[in-house]
Amino acid sequence: MKNFFKRNNIIAELFAIGLFLLYMLPFLMVIINASKPVLDIIMDPLSLPESPTQFITNVQAVMDSPVVRYASSFLSSTIITVISVTLLVIISSMAAWVLVRTKSGLSTAIFMLFVAAMVIPFQVVMFPLISWFHRIESVTGLLNTPFRLLQNYPGIIFAYMGFGSSLSIFLYHGFIKSVPLELEEAANIDGCTKAGTFFRIVFPILKPITVTVIILNGIWIWNDYLLPFIVLGAGNDVQTLPLAVANFVGSFVRRWDLILTSTLMAMLPIVIVFLFLQKHIIKGMVEGSVKG
């Protein structure tokens, strides 16, 4: 009997390792073929790379590509993600705090409005959003300034603030409800202003949920394709990494050597972050959507 279980365990272990390898196979295919010249890929996608320097040649080609503009796309993706997430954390925690601490019909109604909006798919608002942004630009005279909305940072960051606020406020709202009032009352008695109470006392307490909000919004914004496509457009100065890769695929007739290298370079930053912050990321992402 004991032997039977031992053997079963070994079978389970082997099965799991097999499954693991199968699951990682697509990544392996990308790495192998990103290290080969295009002719070798067409001849046999399953062969191993021959030249150890080909990968560097491919990376160089992607870097130099005027369509991908890797360095500038990477920078744009970073700027958009970091600023949008930072602003989302600030505005959502502030809004959720006053919504929890003010008991009134108006407060409840506003919160319900934010929650109800989560069911609105992006497709319903995306076409009107462009023409609405365009109209605002034209009417306010922002169009020919560095602060124009479309094809530029302010518009897309502003859009992410709007689209991210519902879930973020919902998450903060749930967390703040369980934060005891006593601390805030004590701060109030000690003469702390309300804004001061929030930023010095309350906000630091919110750290666990802030981590969740950062991870959820960060990964969403970093990977998002449709919103950047709508607001930034294809092939303009400001482009995110997913946009850059999609443009690249569209502009080449299946140059798989460069396409796969570009996908690898687009994945790498987030995979590296994941390896360091695994536990936080898994927990944050699962918590966020189960509640939402």
Binding site: T102, S104, V124, F127, S138, V271, I281, V286, S289, V290
Partner: protein, 301 residues
């Protein structure tokens, strides 16, 4: 903080303003504009008038065979995808909560595809289906595998299921992991001592215990299946084309991609808007059914 008279302090409005302003500006206004545009001949061209056309766009949409097909193919995809993703995810959850030596590594590996955008995954898998699997098929002399699976409408649909499962199973897995870990170990142990084998324990004790996680996961996969866009676009772009009700159309074009193409490829903005309103109503119905289910469960508990 409580204000008996004049409930709302200036801080209330000041702290709410940035979130409410961006929310109203980006979602509320475009949402109502969008519903209005769906009843007009809107083209988004500057200088053209927007005229009220009543239900003309909706009539056109209901007579649009491509939209009907997209709706049906999305439903088919959703049904297959819900089953496959949840079965795989639950299997993974059992694996990573077992006594396996490398279970933490497996957990991270199964979760990883979830972090990468659907557009990028779609291109990678397009290469795998069009090049790698065909090369493998040719080398083992299998004619079936030597031609790309993406060239056949049914296999192409299943190919999307495979990629979406690969992307999402690790995520749904974590929901089941949380449920399994919070299931009382004493119950399982007692059954073990009473001589119940692994399958009996699974079927009669663990599965009923994690039932709430099933409801959560089913709706999550349902909503995500309906909203699927990125992988659909990057992997098949709606192809291959085939016949439906005597019309040639893209056979794996889901609702979100159909709406996108109506507006961008065919420049029928108002009609695309009408389609998206129908899309919104469909998702709202799903959400309401979910709320109903959750409410009923709370009562039972």
């Amino acid at each position: 903080m409580k204000h008996k008279s004049g409930k709302h302090s200036p801080i209330f409005y000041a702290f709410l303003f940035p979130a409410l302003f961006s929310f109203a500006f980006v979602i509320v206004i475009p949402f109502f504009l969008g519903i209005y545009y769906s009843f007009t001949d809107w083209t988004a061209m500057t200088g053209t008038n927007v005229n009220w056309v009543g239900f003309a766009n909706y009539t056109a949409v209901f007579n649009d065979v491509t939209f009907l097909h997209s709706f049906l193919v999305t439903v088919a995809f959703a049904v297959i995808n819900i089953v496959v993703v949840n079965v795989v995810a639950f299997g993974f959850a059992l694996l990573v909560t077992s006594k396996l030596k490398l279970k933490n590594m497996y957990r991270a590996a199964f979760f990883m595809p979830n972090l990468i955008g659907g557009i990028i995954l779609g291109y990678i898998w397009q290469f795998i289906f069009n090049n790698a699997i065909t090369a493998f098929g040719a080398s083992i002399g299998s004619e079936f595998l030597a031609t790309s699976l993406l060239a056949n409408r049914f296999w192409a649909l299943l190919a999307i299921v495979v990629v979406v499962t690969w992307q999402n199973a690790g995520y749904i897995m974590m929901i089941y992991v949380a449920a399994i870990q919070s299931a009382p170990a004493a119950l399982l142990e007692a059954a073990h001592i009473d001589g119940a084998n692994y399958w009996q324990r699974l079927r009669h004790i663990l599965v009923p215990l994690v039932a709430p996680a099933f409801t959560v996961s089913l709706f999550l996969t349902l909503v995500r299946s309906f909203q699927q866009f990125d992988v659909n676009m990057a992997l098949t772009a709606g192809g291959p084309s085939g016949m439906f009700m005597d019309r040639a159309l893209p056979t794996t074009e889901f609702l979100a991609l159909n709406i996108f193409n109506t507006a961008f490829a065919f420049r029928e903005l108002a009609q695309g808007q009408a389609k998206s309103v129908i899309f919104f109503i469909t998702l709202t119905v799903i959400a309401l059914v979910q709320v109903y289910f959750n409410k009923r469960k709370e009562i039972e508990m």
